[in-house]
């Protein structure tokens, strides 16, 4: 059972749940005020959106919500956690992933299909992905700032670096590889009708745990 965590202002929780179903899994929602993840949780998704309106810093307010204590314990026990877009920002603000996400260098929201190189196909979640995948990116603050030398980088933009992130980083993992965050939206790449199914293996890996 995959727990999709909702905060006020979360937007992509339904799409994330649909992606879990497309990967053969089942999903349930957890609410920010819950002290514990739902019983039987085998994986966690922090979905995209504008939790708390992105006020102060994106992800900052959500990262301090009660449910994040449970997510932290789950991750420390080796559970698989996937943060997408705002979920990635929440994981960085919570200190579960390295670095910080700042405003795109264009200073504008960017919504566009991009290609990602899978820089590390060895984590629990990125195994099974094609070397290069097509997924949409859509955010205002996706400019990752961090130290690539000490970070387990899992995704880089292929070709142009649309948001201006350090070293074209699009997604990172923790050292152990069980927590992964990325700015682009793999849950919007699980349905051929919408243009790409390249994101599906990520959800299969999450569901398989």
């Amino acid at each position: 059972m995959i727990a999709v965590v909702r905060f006020p202002g979360s937007l992509d929780h339904d799409s994330a749940a649909k992606a879990v179903h497309a990967a053969g899994g089942t999903a349930t929602f957890a609410w920010q005020d819950d002290a514990e993840l739902p019983a039987g949780t085998t994986g966690v998704i922090l979905p995209g959106g504008f939790s708390y309106g992105d006020h102060l810093r994106p992800g900052a307010i959500a990262s301090r919500a009660p449910i994040m204590g449970a997510v932290r314990r789950f991750a420390e026990a080796g559970g698989r956690v996937l943060g997408i877009c705002n979920g990635f920002q929440v994981l960085c603000e919570a200190g579960l992933l390295p670095g910080v996400l700042r405003t795109n260098t264009t200073l504008s929201f960017v919504c566009r299909q991009v290609h990602l190189d899978v820089a590390d196909g060895d984590t629990a979640l990125t195994r099974g992905l094609a070397p290069t995948i097509s997924v949409p990116v859509k955010n205002q603050d996706g400019n990752w700032l961090g130290d690539p030398a000490t970070t387990r980088v899992v995704f880089r933009y292929h070709g142009e670096n649309p948001l201006g992130s350090t070293d074209a980083v699009a997604g990172v993992a923790n050292a152990r590889g069980n927590v992964v965050g990325l700015m682009p939206h793999p849950e919007e790449a699980v349905d051929a009708l919408l243009g790409s199914t390249d994101g599906l293996p990520l959800f299969r890996a999450l569901v398989a745990a």
Binding site: Y52, G53, H55, L56, I61, R64, A65
Partner: protein, 78 residues
């Protein structure tokens, strides 16, 4: 060059959604109810010429502040 600090705050009476969201969060974090929280911008810059204050004022009118919803104030370092 003269160091100038420009402060831009939401005008009194204008909704400050950011301040509101942060106040809710502080309350939830156990800091209790916080009153009159408002968030604005602080802009630090070095201004050339011999009328830094006037220059900064013109910058505020032209770009740094939106007079419809923001008030600004200028402080010139001595």
């Amino acid at each position: 060059m003269t160091r100038v600090i420009v402060t831009v705050m939401p005008r009194a009476g204008v909704l400050d959604p950011q301040g509101q969201a942060v106040a809710i969060s502080l309350d939830r974090l156990g800091f209790g109810h916080v009153d009159n929280l408002r968030i604005g911008k602080r802009i630090e810059l070095d201004v050339p010429g011999d009328d830094p204050e006037g220059q900064a004022r013109r910058m505020c009118e032209a770009l740094l502040a939106n007079p419809l919803i923001e008030d600004y104030s200028i402080e010139v370092a001595s």
